[in-house]
Symmetry: C2
Subunit: 460 residues, 2 copies
């Protein structure tokens, strides 16, 4: 029943119309039928002045769920309009990690108000989580989880889960800790439920616990979820004490955001965390101009190489016509290799120690690709360009072009696979070593090779 997409435009119109006509009862009935994520989607395109009214039509719980899904600017606008009681009501319904996400996006004045009206436990939790760096496991976690003691029976455990479970983000996995809060094991609700009432938790818990440290990078956290098929992951401090858990929905968001970030970097952009249509023109400009400027200036090299060989080009002008083709093919080959390696690094499929295996593989691929491309190119040069278009191609000229192509493909593949691995090794982000950067390097290499071959075979 993912039919929301199809009904979206119709719903938008209907909601706007009904709000104008003040048909609040019917409006409420419509909104209540929708998923919070879908209402948030509608809120994106409804007139801002309608939003506080629509928000107030919803009962407490769905209202809080909707609130979490809204964009930060809408959240801020709503909070500014809330009475203290309303703010408290919404906050009481929120999970801790969602509240922290909201707090992180709000200006100082709003944060103060939120902290003032959050209950003491939540305030403590918020301050706790805000301590951790932005991209760390600590910043992703919630401190609301079910903890059990090792000597509890299954009956005790179920009682505790029933008693404390309502406020917890998940009860599907429970965590067994000792009095010093050291993590001893995990036990899934399923195991508890399928065990006998008088079984002891210690005997049914899993003691090989996969956990992460508070400072672990969130990209690694997402990879851990995916590798071990987890639905929740405990976060421990340096003394192995359990401080929080991360749930799979947050890991999925991280995975999506990290893939977007990698893609943006590969296309020579600084990553932004807002959706495209929400980003201002100036912000988009700011994320794009630095690499454009840098790459434009570094193209000075290729320009100077051509300027230096001006005489050669003068002597055999047709060579100029094949510069774009050689450069583009080199760029494409390089980006194929680099992007493959960058993605492999992101997914932990490739490591620096694989450097020689990777190079050896790319060398062989380059030889086959280079051979096929050159042969195809040779045929095209002699049949299409010479016979059809009448370009002044001689056999030596065709040879210069095709040999350059082989060497360019080779250089592009090797540079393309090596640079990201080296970047990773020295602690740089491999993603910025993608196509645009490698294109610039490969352009220069291929031009130098081109003119060397021309000098050698054409004597110019």
């Amino acid at each position: 029943m993912i039919d929301f997409e199809e009904r979206r435009d119709e719903l938008l119109e209907k909601v706007e119309e009904m709000t104008r006509r003040k048909q609040y009862k019917a409006l409420r009935d419509i909104l209540i039928e929708l998923e919070p994520a879908d209402i948030a989607d509608l809120f994106d395109d409804l007139p801002e002045e309608m939003l506080p009214l629509l928000f107030r039509l919803l009962p407490k719980e769905p209202a809080a769920e909707l609130f979490v899904e809204l964009e930060p600017d809408v959240q801020e606008m709503l909070i500014r309009g809330f009475s203290n009681t309303e703010l408290k009501e919404v906050l009481d319904e929120l999970y801790l990690d969602d509240t922290v996400d909201i707090v992180e996006e709000m200006p100082a004045g709003v944060v103060k108000r939120i902290l003032k009206h959050a209950d003491p436990d939540m305030r403590k939790g918020i301050n706790e989580i805000l301590k951790y760096p932005e991209d760390s496991a600590g910043s992703l976690m919630t401190t609301e989880f079910v903890d059990l003691k090792r000597d509890m029976t299954v009956e005790d455990a179920l009682k505790r889960i029933r008693r404390t479970g309502t406020d917890k983000e998940t009860i599907n996995v429970c965590y067994v800790v000792d009095p010093a809060r050291k993590l001893l094991g995990v036990v899934s609700l399923r195991t508890v439920l399928l065990a006998e009432e008088d079984d002891v938790i210690e005997d049914i818990m899993e003691t090989h616990v996969i956990s992460v440290g508070t400072l672990e990078d969130k990209e690694d956290v997402a990879q851990t979820f995916s590798k071990y098929d987890l639905i929740a992951l405990p976060v421990v401090d340096k003394e192995d004490r359990l401080v929080g858990i991360i749930t799979v929905d947050d890991a999925m968001d991280v995975m999506e955001a990290e893939a977007t970030e990698d893609i943006e970097k590969m296309a020579a952009m600084l990553p932004t965390d807002k959706p495209y249509l929400k980003t201002s023109v100036f912000d988009t400009f700011k994320s794009r101009i630095p690499w454009l400027l840098l790459l434009m200036i570094s193209a000075t090299f290729t320009g100077q190489i051509i300027a230096r060989f001006e005489n050669a080009l003068g002597a055999c002008a047709i060579l100029t016509a094949y510069i774009p083709m050689l450069m583009d093919t080199g760029g494409n080959c390089g980006s194929q290799a680099s992007v493959t390696v960058i993605r492999g690094l992101s997914l932990d499929e490739i490591e620096f120690s694989d450097l020689f295996r990777v190079i050896w593989k790319e060398v062989r691929v380059a030889v086959v690709c280079g051979a096929v491309l050159s042969c195809a190119n040779f045929a095209k040069l002699m049949l299409v360009d010479k016979l059809l278009f009448g370009n002044p191609i001689t056999l030596p000229i065709a040879l210069v072009i095709c040999l350059t192509m082989v060497v360019t493909v080779f250089a592009a593949k090797v540079v393309g696979c090596t640079l990201p691995l080296l970047a990773k090794k020295i602690g740089f982000d491999p993603a910025v070593m993608a196509s645009p950067f490698i294109t610039t390097v490969v352009d220069a290499i291929s031009l130098v090779i081109y003119f060397r071959f021309a000098a050698l075979l054409l004597g110019i």
Copy 2:
């Protein structure tokens, strides 16, 4: 405790050494401490002849979990070595959807053997799921889930969950169906557990169920998980009957694979589903050569444009030196715009109906980027290239280059954002409209503009 990565090399050596020395007892103790995903990781780099022995050291359950994580070629090798009893034992421990994944990768002979030794229920399930197209929700699902009736009390439901839960992939979400198996609602185990014993399921179940059809594309399935923060998603047939469920771990795998596929397509490769180091040189070659050939041949256009304007270049040779810079900048601008739009389309943030909003935004970004790049370029031309390198740059030549830059940036941004949206509209994959393709188009445009400006301002 993600310390596996650090211990990997040491473990590999140890396991190999101990296998050679036949220290099976100690070996078993080491393996049993490891996660199945980590043992699979070790199996990748252990000598093939050791694997059957190591596999047999493990107890039934972890052995089955390990089996699921192995690469298809290792699975096939192991199955070929299994006795019928061993095969049956492994199959009995597997979840249905994992078995189907394995079956899909095996040659016909092995599939026959698997079907012969699977129990009748599983055989039926396998055949059922194999009916669905490869990229559909149906192919991802498992038919092992907990179903409840609407008139059950919480006590009945808990009894049923306890009785049937062992074999189900997840019991965290249960599905309420009518006698015709029509999906009436979902109820989480949490809700069941926190309710009173005599509450009736009908009263506590959620009736607004998010579900997908069996033929829904798996990319949309993954997006649904991420949008609504689900841990399981019911799959229904055309009559709204519940036929299976998809769990979040599978959705995460799809999300990861789809991001990789998009990235590969953006870098002009045909997608492969094997990890880089597992792909043969010939397969890598096959995935890369088609686009390389196509793009090489389409570069004929740019070549012919230059050939046609040979005289202009002869009259003012320095113009040639700036062709790479103009082409690269155009390519980079185009790929920034196209990649942003492609990713937005993948994440459902942008739709075709946003075409004009997107173009209008790119136009404004292009104007600012173009202005800044041209000014920087003008300064560079006059100060660095002319004064420092002594290139014969006159004011009109600098003007030709900078004006071309402005128009190229503009054209690149507009073409870059438009092509993916048009591709989507006509049912093509937007990802193949990424940088390499757009570079070729933009190259041709920028060259024509270059020579037009040269004719206009330099009179050549």
